[in-house]
């Protein structure tokens, strides 16, 4: 068969990309080795948090993506449970306050609406927060979404617009002739195409190898605890300053004395529509191992109750880990590969995949159609690894 473009990967990035390509009038094929949204896109929380994005291009893209999310339910004809309740970054120590001051300054320069608040204001916004937490940064721009619904809604709408979705199809090879992509070969068929978009997330390096590319992405694990459902109690998306500090500067963990800090544990918390709390988080490199660790679950429990003491009375009913595609320099790869004509990469978003999915898909579609993109994407180009 033939396709205008082949999207590899049925996670949120691949499905978004397929949707924006189909919306632009192309007839792409999406190939996924398992099912839509079965791997990392359903093993995460639903944060669309702007405050956690690195100032600069990641933050500006995230703000643009948040604007796309506002109308996405309508556009896709599916309630993806997008809400924008605002977000809080809780600050426990002076060290963290100092870090956040630098972050907030840069975020403000990028046009973000953020403010420092004290304990009184914090507890009026979010009564469950401990009186011992002196400060927080608040932004009304933070939101959340159901990542599973979003992924499936992108896929469903893409299919309605003419995208051919092949689940249960594993890519086994990519044919490149004279430096140009000519076909994608799966365990079921050969799809002739001049354009291939590698949206395979943590598996992007395996796809890259098929074209001789060495993509520096590896799985970074996150743990999430799931509580029993309780009546709506948490009003905002919650993280803490340590979450941002570790994300922007992983080496900070090594110097830490607090055992939870050493394990890379920080706070992330939201309450789902059904009432369950999703509580994280930890970041670690453990290959593709998907088994939960007891010390990390214990650490997350301990750490989260420092901020939200009421959690002590809530039963945790499940836990899971999810893989996040971590790119060597902490920012994703989005764009064409200069050495292979017709090859694109959209992968390596780590924990920002949900927030950046709409803008990533739209940007790739614009690139494939040689249209002008909203942002200069040079900093995210794969070429940065070719030097």
């Amino acid at each position: 068969m033939k396709a205008d473009a082949v999207v590899i990967g049925g996670g949120i990035i691949g499905c978004s990309t397929a949707y924006y390509l189909a919306r632009a009038g192309l007839h792409p094929v999406l190939v996924e080795k398992r099912g839509i949204g079965e791997e990392t896109s359903s093993a995460c929380d639903g944060f669309i948090m702007l405050q956690t994005k690195k100032p600069g291009l990641p933050l500006r893209m995230a703000m643009s993506s948040a604007r796309l999310y506002e109308h996405l339910s309508e556009e896709l004809g599916y309630d993806i449970q997008y809400r924008r309740p605002g977000g809080l970054v809780l600050i426990e120590t002076q060290e963290m306050k100092d870090i956040m001051e630098g972050v907030v300054k840069k975020q403000t320069e990028d046009g973000m609406d953020v403010e420092f608040i004290g304990n009184e204001k914090l507890r009026s916004l979010e009564p469950l927060v401990s009186e011992k937490i002196p400060a927080a940064v608040y932004s009304p721009m933070d939101g959340d979404v159901s990542p599973i619904y979003t992924t499936r809604a992108f896929a469903k709408k893409a299919a309605e617009l003419g995208c051919d979705i092949r689940t249960g199809s594993a890519v086994t090879g990519i044919s490149v002739q004279d430096g140009e992509v000519t076909a994608v070969i799966t365990d079921k068929e050969t799809i002739e195409t001049g354009t291939v978009i590698n949206c395979a997330g943590v598996w992007a390096p395996q796809i890259g190898k098929m074209m001789g590319l060495d993509i520096p992405i590896r799985p970074r694990r996150g743990h999430i605890l799931v509580s029993e459902a309780v009546a709506p109690a948490l009003k905002h998306e919650i993280t803490d300053a340590r979450y941002i500090a570790i994300k922007h500067n992983p080496s900070i963990m090594k110097k830490a004395t607090d055992p939870t800090f050493k394990l890379g544990i920080s706070l992330s918390m939201e309450q789902t529509e059904n009432g369950n709390f999703l509580i994280g988080s930890a970041r670690e490199f453990a290959g593709f191992d998907t088994d939960c660790r007891f010390d990390i679950l214990k650490g997350i429990s301990e750490y989260s109750t420092r901020f939200i003491p009421a959690l002590r009375s809530v039963n945790m009913i499940r836990s899971f880990v999810g893989m996040r595609p971590y790119c060597e320099d902490g920012v994703p790869i989005i764009g064409p590969v200069s050495t292979v004509q017709g090859a694109y990469i959209a992968a390596g978003h780590e924990g920002d995949g949900i927030a950046l999915a709409p803008i990533t898909g739209r940007t790739i579609a614009e690139m494939v159609l040689h249209k002008e993109t909203e942002f200069d994407m040079t900093p995210f180009s794969f070429d940065r690894f070719l030097k």
């Binding site: 469950l128 401990s130 459902a229 939960c292 007891f294 679950l297 420092r306």
Partner: protein, 480 residues
Amino acid sequence: MSRIGQHPILEYKKGKPVTFTFDGNVMQGFEGESIASALHAAGIRKLHESEVKKRPRGLFCAIGNCSSCLCRVDGRENVRICIEPLHEGMKVESQNSKAVLKPVVTPGSIREEETIETDVLVIGGGPAGLNAAIESASHGLKVVMLDRNALLGGQLNKQTHKFFGSEKAKAGTRGFVIAQELEEKLAQYDTIDIEKETTALGYFKDGTVMAESRGRVLSYRAKATIIATGASERTLIFPGNDLPGIYGAGAVQTLMNIDGIMPGQTAVMVGGGNIGLIVSYQLLQAGVNVAAVVEAAPHFGGYQVHANKLRRAGVPILTGHTVKYAFGGDSLEGVVITALDEHFSPVPGTEQTIKADILCMAVGLSPMTEMFFQAGCDMKFIPQLGGYVPRIDEYHRTSVPGLYAAGDAGGVEEATSAQLTGRIAALCAAKDLGAAGDFERQFAEYQSQLSELRAGPLGQKILSGLDRMKDEGGVSYAKF
């Protein structure tokens, strides 16, 4: 509903009388019995309403599995009152919506508990677990046994009938007496640490077992872990199957045989296996009228002797029948049953209405396999053994080194074989730890008892299940 005055077999040991409230109404009960039982004794079966459709909810499993009984107790939400002991002055309330969180202003830090090391960890204190603990201790091993209930013995406590099998396997003794005897034997070993009201929650890849004990998180690591978590009751799908008054057979046994409470006036039993037949007879013993035993298959599956006892009492056993729907307001008022043809399809025009306030479900058990899945055991779907079970060899080793399966958790059978598989798993664990002196003789002894037990017609199902296990490679890594 009321309390059973005189029972032909049981004498109920009751705590002191206590007063408590349910939704503001003052009630009496006995210290230590479950809150749900005390409410049943007071005639209350509707415990709360479902959150969305406002349907009445009552007790179903009575062993803390199903969460149908959640209430607010002294301000604590989501309390499973079927396993929550009653105390003086308790304030019990229907919980008709999700729990409401109250901010706790003074957080203490979570205590850093050391991981407790032991030779053998036994998870579950029923017939399999008790025997596994005793067997392990008899080889000089240090044992920790976890059970989520306040009372050890698991389902043995509810069994008032005399067991079959060989004398060594305690034939002729009533289940609750066996439980008492096992607990006495257990008490003879000071190397067995018994942790009651402790729920094992997780098996981690490094062998750590996480447990919750009265609000504390504990962790254990053992050289050998024997999982004897038992099984949970199944139910059937039909309109009205969530009405209060519809119980698992085990719940009816708990009410009658442990807490001495009449579950109602008239019962319909679904399921003609041994559990259905035995519990029907126990209902009669408690003074409950049994209107019918309904069995979908063309023949009932239990022992003839149990069926005969029912027939002599005038209870019809309706084979080739099933429940079409149940009806009632706040609790069950009756059921409509229907005949089935040879393809198990309802035969139109055969509906009968039976007025009943108890519908008792004895439609099989599913092994409680969560821990095996968490441990990454190779799991096999073997219908004869109750569904998904860990692949085990004849020494009851799972595919995960150091992890053993015993009792119904490794394949649904019955209480006597659970005792034996508990023995075998522990004996083999002791052997693997180099602690079983006279292994060959003891192993042969337990095996022969088990074979004897499985020799009857009811053993055929288990044996065919075990054959299937063998086909799945279950014996491939057995080594002496």
